[in-house]
């Protein structure tokens, strides 16, 4: 056990050193376009951490994380739109004029405050996730039914946001790159560099937070719920509360992630709530390694970077590659890339390729022609 955990911590340490070196080196090495992409992918790693908490640890496969991701994005975008609406007619964001709206809808009002916005970015998704989760978990909806239900909820939110032109500009979404913050354009290079740093720091903080949650008995209860929920109940714990809390935390992380992604991609729209995008989040975690936390970060960053590189070279092929990657991981590396590395996968692969010799863990036995062991 002790050997196992030191090896595990060595692998973790190596990956962290590489990751932090990448983050520190990136701003001076990468052109701002690439840096912005990396910043976006780091922000996506935060939603992936949430998916890992609820799926990897607790065993609840949510296909609706896009809801909370988009909500966080809308909170940030509403603030930025209001912050730079001064010059427009009625002092409200420009798009309202297109639909003849003259008065700011009531729920926009609190987003004039920056403090309210910073809190609401994670708190609103967390509360909605908590409410939705509580109703679902209280009725003991699990497994496939839970997945279907979250996906249905995603579609409800998507259709609602898509249709509300007069409230939140419907299908067009809210643009943020031409808005102002601290006297700068949000889409400007200097702001984008800042957002990169904020994303990088928040990913690391989110990792520490997630790590802290699962480090001890709370995390063990989550694993217990995943493996045998009835046993958890008969041991005297109420699984509903634990599931609600963790689902709510994942919702909050998704909100932070969505807000950071929005300011770096320049727009939030109902496209954040499409079905494929929420499924992609699950794929990042599956490829990186379920229940490893670090794997979720790696999966989100690497797959998305691969996506942008492949899409530039061969525009139509990414979906095939992503599908193939997912199938490969599910069949060949069921524990994801990180799980595979931790379980001596590379060593075994070298052996399969004939590069490395297999260690003799058992004394070799003499075998006769029939394959029987000689006595």
């Amino acid at each position: 056990m002790s050997i196992f955990s030191t090896k595990k911590s060595w692998i973790n340490l190596t990956i962290w050193v590489l990751l932090i070196a990448l983050i520190i080196a990136a701003p001076s090495v990468l052109p701002v376009f690439r840096l912005n992409l990396l910043g976006r992918y780091l922000s996506l790693a935060i939603v992936a951490l949430g998916v890992d908490l609820i799926w990897g640890f607790t065993g609840m496969l949510s296909l609706g994380q896009g809801i909370f991701f988009a909500l966080g994005g809308y909170c940030a975008a509403m603030f930025l739109q209001l912050n730079s609406a001064g010059e427009f007619p009625n002092g409200i964001p420009e798009f309202f004029g297109l639909y003849g709206v003259e008065k700011l809808p009531f729920f926009w009002e609190p987003f004039k405050s920056s403090i309210f916005t910073i809190i609401s970015i994670w708190l609103i998704p967390a509360i909605i996730a908590g409410l939705l989760g509580y109703l679902v978990f209280r009725n003991r909806i699990k497994g496939v039914y839970f997945s279907i239900l979250t996906q249905a909820a995603l579609l409800v939110f998507f259709n609602f946001f898509n249709g509300q032109q007069k409230l939140i500009n419907g299908t067009n979404g809210l643009k943020t790159d031409v808005t102002q913050l601290f006297g700068q354009m949000v889409g400007s290079e200097i702001m984008q560099r800042w957002f990169f740093w904020i994303s990088a720091v928040l990913v690391i903080l989110a990792w520490f937070f997630a790590r802290w949650i699962v480090r001890d008995r709370f995390g063990n209860i989550l694993i217990g719920i995943r493996d045998d929920e009835a046993r958890v109940r008969f041991t005297g714990y109420n699984p509903v509360i634990f599931k609600t809390i963790i689902f709510s935390i994942a919702g909050g992380l998704a909100g932070i992630s969505g807000a950071l992604y929005t300011v770096q991609s320049g727009i939030v729209s109902p496209q954040f709530m499409t079905v494929p995008f929420s499924i992609e989040m699950v794929i990042w975690v599956a490829v990186g390694g379920r229940g490893t936390l670090l794997g979720a970060i790696l999966g989100a960053v690497l797959i998305n970077y691969a996506k942008s590189l492949v899409s530039e070279a061969l525009p139509a092929s990414w979906m095939f590659i992503q599908g193939g990657l997912f199938i490969l991981v599910v069949t060949a590396l069921p524990e994801g890339v990180l799980g595979w590395i931790r379980k001596d996968g590379p060593k075994k692969l070298l052996f399969l390729l004939g590069i490395n010799k297999k260690l003799e863990t058992y004394p070799s036995l003499e075998v006769n022609e029939q394959g029987e062991v000689k006595s």
């Binding site: 008995r217 063990n220 109940r233 041991t235």
Partner: protein, 250 residues
């Protein structure tokens, strides 16, 4: 006379017309050790499901410490002091032996306490003590899924004791164990009775005989006969429905 710890009154359970239990009565006093036997389908497991709140009875009442348990959630019943061991060992396979026990002994069992507080020293001592009872000290940090079948059964019993229940419901603790392990389990359960009230369900006659305690025979959802093992074995009715049949099958 003090009131009994657990009392089942006229319990009936109907699954879409099929009566799994009918008018079942049973009384357990503080410190009792009681065995329940019965052929397959006699309703043994359903009867535990009713006590632990997994199945709601169609009729009747379950009284525990003078209060009804009907309509209570499973985790509430567990917190009131009823621990249950399942037929096949159900432990948290991906946690270590020590972590399994830590979850059982933790108090209070609320999310905040699990997240914020570390385990108290008295609970750590309790874990060590539990591991020594079931001989798993050397396996403290081993993944529970890697234990042998017998060790898993014992770990589950240890988790049960760690919950510090007044009543232990033990469902087929010796299924799949070797003779030696069976004897040790019998001794273990006997040593637990007295401080706790223990109710054991099993098929294994040799094991029940070793427990040396009153036996209730369950047949078609109600108690056919109660008495000592030797009385039971002489009863013609019991022989007919259970003992005789099982010998023929062999």
């Amino acid at each position: 006379m003090t009131s009994p710890l657990l009392e089942l009154k006229q319990i009936s359970v109907s699954f879409e017309g099929f009566l799994a239990l009918r008018d079942l009565n049973l009384v357990l006093n503080q410190g009792d050790l009681r065995a329940v036997i019965g052929p397959n389908g006699a309703g043994k497991t359903t009867f535990l499901d009713v006590i632990t709140g997994k199945v709601a009875p169609t009729k009747g009442d379950v009284i525990f410490k003078e209060k009804s348990l009907i309509g209570q959630k499973e985790f509430c019943i567990a917190r009131k002091g009823i621990g249950r061991k399942f037929q096949s060992p159900r432990i948290f396979e991906n946690l270590s032996v020590q972590e399994n026990l830590a979850l059982a002994v933790s108090r209070p069992k609320t999310p905040l306490s699990l997240l914020m507080n570390s385990l108290k020293v008295k609970h750590l001592d309790q874990i060590q003590h539990l591991m020594s009872i079931v001989n798993l000290q050397s396996k403290a940090n081993i993944r529970a899924g890697a234990l042998s079948h017998g060790q898993k059964q014992w770990l589950e019993i240890a988790m049960l004791v760690g919950q510090d229940p007044d009543l232990l419901l033990v469902d087929e603790p010796v299924a799949g164990l070797t003779d030696e392990e069976t004897d040790l389990t019998a001794d273990l359960l006997k040593s637990l009775a007295g401080d706790h009230t223990v109710l054991v369900i099993d098929h294994d006659m040799e094991f029940i005989r070793r427990l040396d305690c009153p036996v209730s025979v369950l047949h078609q959802g109600h108690v056919l006969k109660e008495g000592s093992m030797s009385d039971i074995q002489k009863d013609p009715l019991v022989i007919e429905v259970y003992l005789g049949k099982s010998e023929e099958e062999e």
